[in-house]
Amino acid sequence: MAHIAIKAYSPYSAWLDGRREITLPVEGPVTVRQLLDMLGERYPRFAALSGRDDASLRSRVVLFHDGRLLALDDVVPAGAKVELLPPMSGG
């Protein structure tokens, strides 16, 4: 089974029961939307991120992979490492 690795920074590591990194088993590429649903099924605090649009999501968490900020419909390949970062804010 392939995996997608999730690396979480504060405060999201607390959402992952205090773990900095986890892996999620996947059968192939998944969209960011699907990835968040998978996280929500395993870790309840992520469930609050379901059903948001991109702007609303990015006000809560930034998903980053391969040099890009991810949008909900972006596809993440198996084997990827996705970082969960606090929102871009301020100036």
Binding site: A55, S59, E83, L85, P86, S89, G91
Partner: protein, 601 residues
């Protein structure tokens, strides 16, 4: 006089020791709104090309706007403006806190200060009255030590001693700063230590019930979308900025600082030294941090915590991955009254100068304690190095000459703020053309490019290709006009993160003034203000030759991080920008454009 305005400003002539009042005409207000716009009008009319920024003839303006003191969220602000001693050009800085609202409640829309006092004074303003008082005993106090009744703006020792990037501070330990452009040095040159204000009147809105309805709809949306900023402050975004190549590193040479960035981030602050938060008057976001450092070499720090700009300027720019150290440097700057952006940039510049053998003293990269010592020297203008570095990177590089010019990172003399134009090309043309020198807030180009803020009324609601040149000139012209309005209405730009766009702002302006101003007229006001500030600089000799970026930003590929190879094609974007503005190829507003805006001589 429309609601929202007091209809009166104070005029203070420090040479003569006189205070007087001036009534404002509604026509003037409708053309320039307040804040930056009104200050630009007064400064253009009352200074000349010969005005000495640190002389008695410079005019120091403090201006509020119509929403200030009302229930419109994030509007409790003021603009400070003068000819800048750092750039020699238009100098302006925006500040939150509570002072702006208090000035309105005391019965004044603004204050214009001219002249130079023989001895230190402060201005006392209370409910329609104002007087100058002796400040001899206050001279030399830092901004935390100064203790006056009422809401206070003041300078610290850096402003008194003419550090060219000295700030005007407000709020004591809950520090807010009119940081940029050295306006604290202007205040110091006038021997004006502080302005203390107490007011008890109410700022009326034209239609309070409609305002209530609008706020009831919008405030929950604002709070929802700014929750991250409430939780982690403006430094919440450090990690994400680093990942996309927006965080400046090692005096703008580095491309990646992935492992260290977390150490200077907002979440780290939240998890370690944060003891509370604070908000400017009427703000539902509350991005202000209160921190306390209780152990280690920087124990004793207590009060306002560093913002994003400070975490970057003293952190990644200087390679200091130590949050208590950054908090200490922030506190020192607040106490001395120094802009933390320019100060961090000066320290990074000194670190590179040392590496290159141009300096044989001062801190090496990452030397936090050395940086602390250097900021003390700058704040006190102590020793040759402290005196020299208080001049800002442009003057130091010009004094040293040679290779120093290659790594003095500024535009028009103002050190770059902490967002990299190689990450967002819109920032390149924004920095190059901002009237006050390198400024991210006068265009907010990086924010609109990633659609973190949107202007659907003007066609900007989707993310843009951050590394495309096409359209960035026009985008910048448009967003500069909108930001000029924010700076004149005195709205905080962070409310844009709360999904506020032009439509509710027009509603609020109408609720407050009853003007019924439409979008076209409002945008025309923004364009008028942008052009007037440009003409202020044109009169001082500015043109396309000044609308440029440091060589390092234009030609140095960082080779790592989120934007390893990107270099902004500034010339192309600049041409597009001038065309969008109706300026000639030298960047001078055409006579027909000025006539269209009512700015002809």
């Amino acid at each position: 006089m429309p609601d929202g305005y007091c209809g009166t400003i104070l005029r203070v002539n420090l040479t003569e020791g006189k205070v007087s009042r001036q009534s404002l005409e509604e026509g003037l207000l409708r053309q320039y709104i307040g804040g930056s716009g009104l200050a630009a009008r007064f400064l253009y009319d009352e200074t000349t090309a010969e005005t000495d920024p640190l002389g008695p003839d410079n005019v120091l303006a403090f201006m509020t706007g119509p929403m200030v003191g009302t229930r419109v969220p994030t509007s409790n602000r003021f603009a400070a403006a003068a000819r800048s001693p750092l750039t020699g050009l238009w100098g302006e800085s925006d500040c939150g806190g509570r002072w702006g609202g208090e000035l309105k409640r005391a019965g004044f829309d603004g204050i214009l200060i001219t002249g130079q006092a023989a001895n230190p004074v402060y201005l006392w303003v209370e409910d329609g009255q104002a007087e100058l008082r002796d400040a001899s005993e206050l001279w030399g106090l830092d901004t935390y030590e100064l203790d006056l009744d009422g809401e206070v703006v003041c300078i610290g020792p850096a402003g008194e001693r003419g550090v060219r990037y000295a700030a005007i501070m407000s709020g004591g330990r809950d520090g807010r700063a009119a940081g940029r452009c050295g306006l604290g040095a202007v205040m110091g040159s006038k021997k004006l230590k502080a302005i203390a204000v107490k007011g008890s009147s109410r700022v009326r809105a034209h239609d309070e019930a409609r305002l209530t309805r609008s706020l009831r709809d919008i405030l929950p949306v604002v709070k929802e979308h700014t929750a991250g900023m409430s939780r982690n402050g403006t430094a919440g975004g450090v990690l994400a900025f680093e990942r996309v190549g927006d965080l400046p590193i090692e005096n703008w040479r580095g491309g990646s600082w992935a492992e260290q960035a977390e150490a200077i981030s907002g979440p780290r602050m939240t998890d370690t030294i944060l003891t509370g938060t604070y908000a400017c008057g009427g703000c539902p976001i509350g991005c202000g941090r209160v921190v306390e450092v209780n152990e280690g070499p920087f124990a004793g720090v207590k009060g306002a915590g560093p913002e994003y700009e400070t975490c970057a300027s003293f952190g990644s720019l200087c390679l200091i991955d130590d949050l208590p150290a950054v908090a200490k440097l922030n506190e020192l700057c607040n106490r001395y009254g120094i802009d933390t952006i320019s100060a961090g940039a000066v320290v990074a510049f000194a670190m590179e100068a040392r590496e290159r053998g141009l300096l044989d003293e001062g801190p090496a990269w990452g030397d936090a304690e050395g940086a602390v010592r250097l900021v003390h020297q700058i704040g006190q203008r102590e020793g040759d190095l402290g005196r020299l570095l208080g001049e800002g990177v442009r003057r130091v590089a010009e004094a040293w000459g040679g290779r120093a010019l290659d790594f003095a990172i500024h535009v028009k003399g103002l050190e770059l703020p902490m967002h990299d134009p190689r990450a967002y090309f819109s920032l390149a043309v924004g920095y190059a053309t901002s009237s006050r020198g390198a400024c991210h807030l006068q265009s907010f180009g990086h924010v609109f490019a990633r659609a973190a803020a949107t202007l659907p009324e003007l066609g900007y609601s989707e993310p843009l290709d951050r590394h495309a040149a096409e359209g960035k000139g026009a985008l910048t012209a448009t967003t500069q006009d909108v930001m000029a309005l924010f700076d004149s209405l005195k709205l905080c730009k962070f409310i844009l993160f709360g999904k506020v766009t032009l439509t509710p702002i027009l509603t609020w302006l109408d609720c407050v003034t009853g003007w019924g101003m439409g979008q076209e007229e409002l945008m025309r006001v923004g364009e008028r203000i942008s052009n007037l500030r440009r003409m202020f600089n044109v009169r001082l000799g500015a043109s396309r030759k000044d609308d440029w970026l440091p060589l390092r930003i234009l030609v140095h590929r960082r080779g790592a991080g989120g934007a390893p190879d990107a270099l902004p094609p500034l010339g192309r974007m600049l041409a597009d920008y001038y065309a969008a503005r109706g300026w000639d190829e030298e960047g001078i507003p055409r006579p027909e454009k000025l006539a269209e805006l009512g700015l002809q001589k």
